[in-house]
Symmetry: C2
Subunit: 334 residues, 2 copies
């Protein structure tokens, strides 16, 4: 009774499991890595013992010995955004379907991103999934030197590694056309320059193109450094109405901003979509829950994640950026 059951937390090794199971370490290794190589009966016995002992294979040793790992590393710029939630889900599911694990690192700044990538490379991950945005100068070269598969989501031809993205320009054109077809003439567009804005750089040119094609003025453009939260939606509406009191539509950078603008419209007694159409972007939860529900662009971010894993595992033929679908989500607000 005085024996201390687990006084030494000395970690179990494959050898311990092998001894307990009466097989060689290699068989234990095969059980975990290539189950089909081991006879069912043997495998069951080994796995049972491993589970009883609480043995978890040391991935560090495995990665070192094998020279490769079964882990994909993703770096996200932020967790606030529900797009990234869906993106991460897509990554995770696609990775799981291929027997890969996904680890995620959050990086708020380019420096943090670089540091995160270094950790991931240090772990010798099987692939790195980045998100488009401002990067630290050395990042691209670091990844190139490491020779690891890289994918940059929401990026196009100029991506680090290969880009995976839906056609933002096409989505912007479709949304603009939709408003024009509704008879909107004085359409305001919000351009975001800071932070993740560059993921959506194609929105404005596409908007202008369609406005021009319809013979409308594309001068109602508001450029802001950042826009998040309802408050900025209110501010933006303010600014637009000061610019053009007869504004009849507004294209917001996200559903959250659109919701803020919508609330501000309601506060001012402007009917949506009667007096003014409000369009969001991104198909966030909130767009479905405000009234009127927001017309928006649905990015299928989980498909971007899936595409990213396919690129990393080499399942994607061809070259150039991978295009994922998007959809115009026409609801009540525009």
């Amino acid at each position: 009774m005085s024996d201390t059951p687990s006084i030494s937390p000395k970690s179990l090794t494959m050898q311990d499991v092998a001894d307990a199971a009466g097989v060689s370490p290699m068989t234990v290794s095969n059980c975990f890595r290539y189950p089909e190589r081991v006879r069912e009966k043997t495998r069951m016995a080994v796995m049972k013992i491993a589970a009883d002992l609480g043995y978890v294979p040391n991935l560090s040793a495995g990665t070192l010995a094998a020279g490769s790992s079964r882990v994909i590393g993703a770096v996200l710029p932020s967790m606030r955004n529900s797009s990234f939630y869906n993106y991460n889900s897509g990554l995770r599911q696609a990775a799981a379907a291929r027997g890969l694990e996904l680890i995620t690192m959050i990086a708020e700044t380019p420096e943090e991103e670089l540091s995160a990538v270094q950790t991931l490379l240090g772990l010798r991950v099987a692939g790195v999934a980045l998100v488009a945005g401002p990067h630290e100068p050395g990042l691209s070269q670091l990844l190139a030197l490491a020779g690891v598969p890289v994918v940059e989501s929401w990026a196009g031809e100029d991506a680090i590694g290969r880009g995976v993205c839906y056609d933002v320009g096409a989505a912007s054109r479709a949304l603009t056309r939709h408003l024009i077809a509704q008879g909107r003439r004085r359409i305001g567009f919000v351009e975001v320059t800071g932070g993740g804005g560059q993921r959506y750089a194609m929105r404005l040119p596409a908007f202008r193109q369609e406005m021009f094609a319809a013979g409308l003025s594309d001068s109602l453009v508001l450029t802001v450094r950042a826009a998040d939260g309802f408050a900025s939606g209110a501010t933006i509406l303010d600014s637009f109405l000061a610019l053009e009191p007869n504004l009849d539509a507004i294209l917001c950078p996200t559903d959250v901003v659109a919701a803020g603008a919508l609330f501000e419209c309601q506060r001012r007694g402007l009917a949506v979509p009667g007096d003014i159409a409000v369009a969001g972007w991104g198909d966030y939860d909130i767009g479905r829950q405000v009234s009127p529900m927001l017309t928006t662009v649905r990015p299928f971010s989980d498909e971007i994640g899936k595409g990213a894993i396919e690129v990393l595992t080499g399942d994607h033929e061809g070259s150039g950026a991978v295009a994922t679908p998007f959809a115009l989500q026409l609801r009540e607000s525009a």
Copy 2:
């Protein structure tokens, strides 16, 4: 000209850097791991060469050789929630302050959580940060056998490893007292049983205690399996009004639900806080952006993350759950 500069992406080793720098591999190792052990001049030279070559130390090998790593693993139940965003930020910052890296895994279900923990243990992380919620049965034992430091955030005395949490009961009591002090008498309480509901198990008993102490009825309790999104706020308000048409306050499980309830009140022409007080929980962005702004409980989730890292690194004296602060955020809605 026919030589291929980097035909073989054979990864660089410490030896390569050592050769290029004219020092021994150990010196290179020390430069990365214990910079203060190496003379400044030598270190600069080595780091310069390492950077030029694009060398990144193989953490797998390092972890294997050293028997420990400088990486903390966190498992989050979801990224949707802004609390977890702040929690993760707190983890990251506190980890960075101690020279540790943080890797995050998202797990939607207990099975995924178990699998994530196995990967983390396989990586031989220096600590595992869990979030309270339903766990797979084997999880606790697995972690105990691994002998790795574990912390469970939002958990109390019964935590796996050590708990870090604010006093949910005290927060609930404070909020209830606040409503009572306002003269509210028919207060509805929403109890969530599913998902993360158990993180807030102490809310209901605390509510009842205060209602009883004030001589009020605590029977206006609605139990739902899950509540997220504005829509459930509307549903909940519906149900309460059916139960008690003279309801004068409602305690919602989150600010999102509270916002939904608030919108429903406005739709029905009920004045908030005039006719009915609406209180949220969690201090989400949205609570600050609706009008009237929501009274809520602010959890300082980043402090929970910070506390979790402190526990994992052994910086926290004593035993028992670690208490983090909370604050009653009194705003307009209650």
